[in-house]
Symmetry: C5
Subunit: 359 residues, 5 copies
């Protein structure tokens, strides 16, 4: 059995470090080593500019009211820089706190001038699902995204903006929000497809290998993984559902169709998760029956061997006795007759077990 | 155990190919080889025309405002032709996308001039349930249906239109929609009846054959199948339920009774699915008890054989010892007396096991 | 194991024969041989008349506006006669269809001039629960009931009308409807009481007999039965619930108290069904533990026998060896000493197993 | 296994005897032998009178408009006397029927002049939970309570009235109702505490005794008991919940706080019931693992004994063979060397099993 | 197995001692020995005073209308002192009763001048979760907290008030309430993290140790613990949820954001609890499979030993027979040939079991 430490829920200790004063900013997570970096994309139908920096202040001069600005921050360690960004966009202190507290469950909060969305990205690491906290601020003409580590799930969106493919350049900030959420949800499909492959592989293993505790462990790991995925997806489903119904100037009428599409996707993912969950739970039962089948087989071998040879050994024992008067011992053909009898018993036994379908 | 690849959910990768730009048309499914073909039926109470083609444009000239037109497209590969149809009927880009993305869950969407319905057809292929994506556009006097492969579930409807049997020729497009949904749902009855037969057959097998991993596998396959059926039927139930309540000029008052009837049917199917599901889940438990019963039987044979012959062999062993002074050995009738003792032990043992009801 | 065919849900193929044109009348069920017969009771406070016939037309002349008329049709084969009745009372074609399609789940439908209620009667046949389709039309001063076979569950109601016992003669048609539904629901009590007896009997059997596949089968049959009962009762509960809330001229104010009473009863039945369901599901677990207990016992016998006699046989084997120089063999009392040793081992073993509580 | 008859739900046949005419009074229950007796307490702040009789008519003269009258009837056999009481207080016939039909589930019904409440008292009898039907009529200045048997759960309330302790004498009839319901619910605490003790005791037994069918039976009995308790408590919770919301002149504003308190209590009981239920269901699993553990132990003893002595016996058997030429037999020290070899094998085996932790 | 008494729900007998007169004050709990002590903190932005006493009356003179007063009472034995406090702040008798009755489930009650909140603190004691009853009165400018024992969960809040860190000194009483609830909920994170560690540790143990009843017991204890945690957390979630929606002058607008934050935390805890619950329930299944795996291994050892040596012993037995004429016995090399045969059988057997993967 592997010795590596298994974390039941890869819990980021608990969103807020204990006894922390509410409303103060401290990064809570397990990716302290990731350096904070900033990536700004500023675009409209005609123009496109991209800028990378370590400090938001360098970037503010690039921000143009007529263009849509997408700030992407990777790494949440450098709390001061994040705070500056928060001040620039006048974010609520509790929002700032939630951005750096990575244990948040997906949620949406409406503020006067912006929407605040928390989601979770999922990826595999050493065979275990990892959650990565993503938060998003959607304003009139800007989108801020905050990631714990430098992920690549948004790359296709960047490319589409750069090359001007699709509708994205001609739409407003809410469409960018949709595109980013769409990228996150598309990623879930990958993760649950992988889950499906692992379930199938395990089903295969169940029947072809000898029962071992490794299989139990793997089933348990699948359970843990599906529970983690569920924890990321189900609240996000509520978020998208509420996004569909929100009445805000920030969401244009025509973007609503796209959000509904998003909702369809996440409902589909949720349904698949539930199905996989049932399958995984079923694996344990399957495993029990295969173990029982194998034990049955072992017992049959034992029973057949013992049932055949124990009586024969008894017979041999009889004629190994040293009584002075055992008539059979003197007769010349006794030995051969006895062999005959034994062979008949042997064949009779085999026939009996054959008829019982144990052979 | 069969070596064939089992797909857990026969997933069409995931409705949308990853990183695809939202709103662009690409066929997503696993029936790429099916050639797109078009079948147009144009009818009213008096007239009936049928036309088959590879291109919708040939068909448009046949379309007559006074008649109801049913376009049926088999095969979703030829995206351009489908696009032309979409332009002709002014369909929303996202609708067009959903038509060719076959992983959609059943849904209904109301648009200004038409209803968009997605459903799933079910059929068996190599003992596994397959889902086939069907989408339907219902307009004022036309119905468009899109199928992945050339199915035959609509043939009875075609026949009724051709021969003018029943109400169908005298009613409007919404009744045609009802007739088509009715055909799909009727098909579900076949599928779940088949499921019922397989459950019964497996129950029978459980008791009559030796336990083997094949049975576990079959139960698992039934589970997968019922989960797939559920995934097709339950959302369609919501669809029909909403169809009942929709307030649209497209649905006539008198068609509502028929839709309610449809709803009754799909509720009934849903209930049966839940019952079959409980039965299938119960099969695993049943199987465990039969395995245990069989193991019990094996153990009894072993125990009886060992309990009878081990003591007897011990006795024989005693008189096979080479001690110089064993008084019994000299006595003339010892051997026969010993046989007597052994037979008494043997019969006593049999009686004991008989009384314990192990024999 | 019994060879008789078990039907999982005693499904009447599926309410509607496949590809049947919606709105046409064909009897769907498995009691084709039952001849249609008609029983008309016409009564008011003062008068009472009863009439039996094969054709409704003979009966129409008996119908008197001032009296309440109860048409009871047994057997749904003679579709034409039923159609005549439908025309006389101006029933909707879909209602007519539902009357003869026996797979319907219990439901209530309000029409202008009448209520349409579908329910299911339950009875045992060869140890399996059978459902019988009953439909009821309740109009201003008439009640029509349609049964698949000639049942006797309504006899007490007939008697009450005939003898004028209770309130029934002095009330209107809705009270008759109540009395008939009450008779059906009373019958459910009988069926679930019987279910309770069978559960208890099976519990008893579980402990007193050797494990066998018959018990697994019986548990499975109980499961099937309770699922069937549930399928009849739960939708009827909704029906009665809606009947309580319906605002219709057909239901008098003072009948409402009786309907509420009916609702109490069916809720009570539903609760019992859920309890029995839990008990039945628990039976499988109980059964598993009794099998395991029995196997444990078998194993103990084997282990005790083997543990005692295998070492003793070994000792006997030692002194059966033919080495030229085994000092013990020459000593005169060796044989007796050895017996002593063996008896001590034997008693020691027994004591050991006694202390382990295996004996 | 005990031979006593176990009743699954201690069903009072079914609230209404079959085919009984609705609205007629017949006692339905299993305590026919209890003689009906009447206990009247008439009190206000200043006065207190108590009167016991067999007939309500004797009591009516004691009833004083200015005082609160509590009629308590024990035993529901004497239907005529109960009927007289019903007439005196002008109760609805269906209420009268529900009073004597003891299978009713807890409910509340509002009438013009009074509230009708049905509850169930719980107590142990021969280790099984028994339900006793209690119904209560709460009017302007009277409370009628009807019990199947002479219980003592109301004694503390009687004492408080007599001695004038607490608020009860200074309050109106609704407070008396509260006090009585409070007494019933307090009693539930006793019953579920007892349940808790039994669960703990059984857990203890599970580990300390040999597996036996008695334990399975006891777990099953606990299941039955908890299901029965649930059946009494859950509907009463709804009753109290509705009582809280009822708008009736009969309930004073200031009594509402007490009813809310009652509701808190019954919610707490419901939660505990659910927890106990989970614990009881878990007992079966626990039991299975302890059986398996015990079987494992049995198998280990067998395997160790057989694995050690079967090879040794084989070796002894080798040198018991009668071949003319077996070189070892002639050598003088063979026997002693062989003993050495055997002891080494023996120790080796012990070490092997020790390392496998089977010893 | 440990002999210590396990309490299923550490029930404080039942919130109200049986037959107690409603509305009278008696401490109900199991911490009778804790002496009641009083700790008063009186503060505003500028001032801070702290006072400890045994009697509230000493403290009343310290109370200043312009400051926020936090009374904390540890130990609920001294009912008279608590009563004095209740009179001073004009608390409702039922509130007073709920403060000293420690079995209350978490709840919130709105009164004219104050809110009454009941919560439960959780901590470990001898490996079992203990609940401690906390009640809180929140008034215009005061907060009263009542604890059963002297806990330390509020210490960080005290420190923040004393040192003036964070917002707390500049806010009103409702913010203090938030800070205290926040401290309680933070504590839950610790408890469930600990739970997570124990689950992981047990998973580890499951595979590395021999099956024993101790593991079953530990799983059962985890179940009990998680059920207890759930019982404390789930109703508190409702409480916080209602607190969010309450319209009261006592809760300032700007505190609402903090309460929403609190709600997010408790929802997160609830979700984790549900996940842990599923994991714990899964442990029993895992345990069963590891037991079965271990038994399988035991059986294989037995079967291999018996299958190899029983036939060999039989062969040795054959040539131990004393027939006068056994031709093989005379031949000189018989013995060596036989050894050869036996070794071949031995190797053949090993190969057979190897191929079956039993070795």
């Amino acid at each position: 059995m592997a010795k590596r430490k298994r974390h039941l829920l890869r819990r980021p200790k608990h969103s807020k470090s204990l006894n922390q004063i509410p409303g103060t900013l401290t990064y809570v997570g397990n990716k302290e080593s990731v350096e904070t970096s900033l990536d700004v994309i500023d675009y409209n139908q005609e123009q496109y500019e991209r800028f990378q920096s370590k400090s938001p202040q360098d970037a503010f001069k690039f921000v143009d009211e007529d263009r849509i600005t997408w700030f992407n921050i990777d790494g949440l360690n450098n709390v001061e820089e994040i705070e500056k960004l928060g001040e620039y966009y006048e974010l609520h202190p509790l929002v700032m706190e939630d951005i750096v507290n990575t244990g948040q469950r997906p949620k949406i909060e409406e503020y006067q001038d912006y929407l605040f969305i928390v989601a979770q990205m999922l990826y595999y690491k050493d065979g275990e699902i990892e959650n990565e906290h993503i938060s998003m601020i959607v304003g009139k003409n800007y989108v801020l995204t905050f990631q714990e580590a430098n992920g690549d799930v948004f790359d296709p969106v960047r490319e589409r903006i750069e090359t001007g493919k699709g509708r994205i350049r001609s739409r407003s900030a809410d469409y960018l929000m949709f595109a980013l959420l769409d990228a996150i949800i598309d990623n879930y499909f990958l993760v649950i497809d992988d889950m499906s492959d692992r379930i199938e592989a395990l089903e295969e293993t169940l029947f072809t290998t000898q029962p071992s505790d490794d299989i139990t462990l793997e089933i348990q790991e699948l359970k843990r993984n599906i529970l983690r995925i569920r924890r990321a997806v189900f609240p996000l489903r509520e978020v998208i559902g509420r996004l569909e119904k929100i009445e805000s100037d920030l969401i244009e009428e025509k973007t609503n169709n796209y959000i509904r599409d998003l909702y369809d996707h996440i409902v589909q993912i949720s349904e698949n998760i539930e199905i996989y969950r049932e399958m995984i739970w079923g694996l344990m039962d399957m495993y029990m029956t295969t173990i029982s089948n194998k034990m049955n087989e072992v017992m049959k071998v034992l029973t057949i061997m013992a049932s055949i040879f124990i009586p024969l050994t008894f017979i041999a024992g009889i004629y190994g006795m040293n009584f002075e008067y055992i008539p059979e011992l003197q007769w010349k053909y006794s030995y051969f007759v006895l062999w005959g009898v034994m062979i008949i018993i042997f064949i009779g036994m085999l026939y009996y077990f054959k008829r019982k379908k144990w052979l």
